[in-house]
């Protein structure tokens, strides 16, 4: 390639690359750097902290710091020290579009039990292609940590693609990053602790909360109590924050409606109202029950978080399915080693357990990576132990099969390609029995999001049709499988990808036989 072409002549080589600068990735990078490893952290955001400790842009940074922002600073500061000492470098504002194993690299193909890197072989294993604000860059690394967190799950309902309907977790980004609510009068719906957090956050911006609808009932929250009681300190911290959010809501007269779901979102070009109605224990709408229409200009709705698996699927790591931890995630050992030698996963991308666990797990995985790289300064790793609290909280937002079962035939499931539930059912009638066959039959998952948004629901709809009773639903999900991982990981502007070039820069292969 030419010097002024899109691809630099030589890729940037590091010992360890970390994708994602959230709690898991940043913690791991700090540990790796302290152990003397040459580490590069890559993140889409301009500053480290990830989604959970999402930093406001510098211009908005003068406000009072929230607890999340303070925790983010404590992570960002050591990472900043490493940057200054050239130990850990950060590629911020950078989109990873391709991750691949280097052909002939040590370690062999994926498969078998999770295992670490062979320390004696110093050749790079992985190539990571990224788009930085300055242009495309290729990075090669011996060891790679994927700490890319989660994708928000929304179970479709009529009108869910109406402008003004936004994700619950997405709303937290808006609140933290920009200090703004998605509308002037916001309905909040879905499942899990984010409901209270978002409702309180919306009120804090001065906007109105039109309603809070929780799929769960008080009984579901109480069911988490035994787990909480086993870890009283951790539970108390979480409960105190949750209570604070609810107190803020109650002071303004906002009460949660339990066992309530969104029946429909109404409006054409812009959301005008949501229709709320009761749901049963399984999350399904109660047929014939009275509904209520709530006028609003925004709906923040989310039904849990799923581990982001696009990179580990692309790398063909082995994945497992556990509904309580968000669905599919890569199989790892206690130090985050996947079934692909040299590839590690930490944080919510390895099963949703929340930010506190991600911080611990990231540090543990960082140590394991350092030791596997035979870094001189690496102490023996102590495995992060999964606490029951995290699993109990994650379970509150698990994907409920009854909710997908209740999706009406004309409701769009794949919003990129406009594929309805009826079209998915017709594909099953035509013999589609795995998720990738469904993709070919319907274009479901072929759009710009590559099925990140619809995948969990499309797979659940297939599984509901193919399962031998509800007891078989998780086994059916495993049979239905996951989307095949594909590059690019995010849509890539062709202009940025190819840069300036002349025809001589294109390595046109030899002619095909005539």
């Amino acid at each position: 390639m030419s010097a002024d072409g899109a691809l630099p002549a030589a890729p940037r080589a590091v010992e360890a690359a970390v994708i994602g600068a959230g709690p898991a990735g940043a913690s791991a990078a700090v540990v790796l750097a302290e152990a003397g490893c040459d580490v590069l952290v890559i993140d889409e955001a301009p500053r480290p902290g990830g989604r959970i400790w999402c930093a406001p842009p510098p211009a908005l940074d003068g406000g009072r710091p929230s607890a999340e922002a303070a925790a983010g600073d404590s992570l960002r500061d050591p990472l900043g020290d490493r940057l200054a000492a050239s130990r850990a470098a950060l590629l911020a504002d950078t989109v990873v579009w391709s991750v691949g194993r280097i052909e002939g690299a040590p370690g062999g193909a994926a498969g078998g039990a999770p295992g670490g890197a062979a320390p004696e072989d110093a050749r790079p294993r992985f190539r990571i292609d990224v788009l930085t604000p300055e242009g495309p860059v290729a990075v090669v690394a011996r060891s790679l940590l994927v700490a890319i967190g989660t994708t928000e799950r929304v179970i479709p309902f009529p009108g869910w693609t109406t402008p003004g309907v936004v994700g619950l977790a997405a709303t937290t980004q808006l609140l933290k990053n920009q200090g703004m609510a998605p509308g002037r009068r916001v309905a909040v719906a879905g499942a899990g602790p984010l409901l209270a957090s978002v409702a309180a956050g919306v009120l804090e911006t001065g906007a109105e909360v039109a309603a809070v609808a929780d799929i769960a009932g008080p009984g579901d929250w109480l069911a988490a109590l035994p787990a909480l009681a086993r870890e009283p300190r951790r539970a108390a911290r979480g409960a105190a924050r949750g209570a604070g959010w609810w107190m803020a809501c109650l002071r303004r007269g906002v009460r949660p409606a339990f066992r309530t779901g969104v029946v429909a979102a109404e409006g054409g070009d812009r959301l005008e109202a949501v229709v709320l109605g009761p749901v049963d224990r399984a999350g399904a709408p109660v047929a014939g029950a009275p509904t209520r229409r709530v006028a609003c200009d925004a709906l923040a709705v989310g039904h849990g978080l799923a581990p982001a698996t696009e990179i580990t699927r692309l790398m063909r790591a082995r994945h497992v399915f556990d509904r309580d931890l968000g669905g599919w995630y890569p199989r790892t050992d206690h130090q985050g080693r996947t079934t692909v030698p040299g590839l590690y996963v930490a944080g919510d991308a390895a099963g949703v357990r929340g930010a506190a666990f991600a911080t611990l797990a990231g540090a543990g995985t960082g140590l394991a990576m350092a030791r596997d790289l035979a870094a001189a300064g690496a102490p023996p790793p102590a495995p992060a132990r999964e606490g029951p609290v995290w699993r109990a909280m994650s379970r509150l937002t698990r994907q409920r099969p009854a909710m997908s079962a209740a999706i009406s035939p004309q409701t769009v499931v794949c919003r990129c390609e406009g594929v309805t539930r009826a079209e998915i059912d017709a594909a099953v009638d035509d013999g589609a029995h795995d998720i990738n066959q469904l993709k070919h039959f319907t274009r479901c998952g072929m759009g710009p999001c590559q099925g990140r948004i619809c995948g969990d629901v499309a797979a659940e709809l297939l599984a509901l049709r193919l399962a031998d009773g509800m007891a078989d639903i998780d086994a059916a999900r495993r049979r239905v499988g996951q989307w095949t991982g594909r590059s690019p990981l995010r849509p890539v502007p062709l202009d940025a990808m190819i840069g300036a070039f002349t025809y001589d820069d294109i390595p046109v292969p030899d002619p095909a036989p005539l």
Partner: protein, 386 residues
């Protein structure tokens, strides 16, 4: 399908058992069934999900080998009329095709190749860049010569599995999907295909249509036919406003470019990714992807404003002389092979249909491509007509 309690018991006895459910195996099964035979089709995954479902879908004379032009013309007509004979839509679009030359050397290659293909019956003519831009207003100013062919176009490869599945069931073909064949053994008056679950299907006739897996399949019959595995990269953009209305290639044959009705542009041409017979198309070479996309944007500059949303690699089978392996298996009665048709999407349907004629005891309209040449005299010899 009743297997009884004995796993070794035949799952069924049919006139013909086909192993491999790509467009070759599916077309063969369909025409055998319509010809009156009872047919079983065995496919280890879903139908048309390997090369037949992952290629760029180009239907063109300008990437077809000269000796295959008559087959490709007939195959193109079949694709164009798929709704009529298959009964289901595979998204075929017939449009103009342009092959471009950007350098003097490419102009020489294009002149020679267009001439040879024209002699073989392809309606290709050389045109000036200005004429090319009247046919394709989206074209850049870089080409110095173009070859135009009105018999061109594309199918939606991903739609073929569903269409064939319906057609095969309507024709009464018994499908064994998601079941790999693990071996073939002689059975009284035929061949027994052993399935992964232990069942056996006995066919009076056997046809192997396994693409790049033909080499191990023929090994079951004691025949060694080396099959090279190409790992072709394909990429697709998000939906864009119209940027082109033709299929674009280049003189060397290493580009295929077209915009589908939904606005997405598919970029192919056989740039090599990473993979093999065991792993499939495992990964892309980012530098090859960039090269392929640069070539595309060199031809159609408006593509630069688009975004790439998905790319993948699919396997293509190639024999030592890059000519098809289609005909009887030497030394094995009533066993046939069908595959390795170079750039074979255009002609593959027709070539499989010819083999169906032969298996039905009729004389095919055009010669097959027996594999004796590849077994006896080794690589590099010209294709021998049957």
């Amino acid at each position: 399908m009743s297997a009884g309690h004995d796993p070794a018991a035949p799952a069924g006895r049919v006139d013909a058992v086909i192993v491999g459910g790509g467009i070759h195996g599916c077309t063969l099964a369909l025409f055998l069934a319509r010809g009156g035979m009872s047919v079983a089709l065995v496919e280890r995954g879903p139908l048309c999900r390997e090369a037949s479902g992952t290629n760029a879908g180009t239907l063109t004379m300008q990437m077809t080998r000269v000796a295959l032009i008559p087959y490709a013309l007939a195959g193109h007509a079949m694709w164009a009329n798929a709704r009529a004979w298959l009964g289901h839509d595979v998204g075929t679009v017939v449009c103009d095709g342009l092959s471009l030359a950007f350098t003097q050397r490419e102009a020489e290659i294009l002149t020679y190749r267009a001439g040879r293909r024209c002699e073989a019956g392809a309606p290709i003519e050389l045109i000036s860049p200005a004429q090319a831009r009247t046919i394709e207003p989206g074209l850049s100013t870089h080409p110095i010569l173009a070859a135009h062919c009105p018999v061109d176009g594309y199918a939606s490869a991903y739609q073929t599995g569903r269409a064939y599945r319906r057609a095969l069931l309507e024709a009464g073909v018994t499908l064994y999907e998601g079941l790999a064949a693990s071996d073939i053994e002689p059975a009284s008056g035929g061949h027994a295909v052993r399935l992964a679950d232990g069942r056996r299907i006995v066919g009076t006739r056997l046809a192997l249509c396994g693409g790049v897996w033909l080499e191990p399949m023929l090994g079951w019959l004691g025949v060694h036919l080396p099959i090279k595995v190409l790992v072709n990269q394909v990429a697709v953009t998000e939906r864009m406003p119209p940027v082109m209305r033709t299929v674009i290639g280049i003189a060397s044959g290493l580009l295929s470019l077209k915009q589908f009705a939904n606005g997405s542009v598919v970029i192919g041409g056989g740039w090599q990714g990473i993979g093999d017979r065991e792993r499939g198309g495992e990964a892309l070479r980012p530098e090859a992807l960039v090269g392929n996309v640069r070539l595309a944007c060199h031809a159609i500059p408006a593509m630069r404003s688009g975004r790439l949303v998905r790319a993948w690699a699919g396997l293509e089978a190639e024999t030592a002389d890059a000519m098809p392996a289609v005909g009887p298996v030497p030394g094995v009665d009533n066993a046939f092979v069908c595959g390795s048709v170079h750039s074979g999407y255009t002609s593959g349907l027709y070539i499989a249909r010819l083999l169906a004629e032969r298996m039905l005891g009729r004389e095919p309209a055009l010669p097959l491509f027996p594999i004796d040449r590849l077994l006896d005299r080794g690589p590099g010899t010209a294709a021998a007509a049957e």
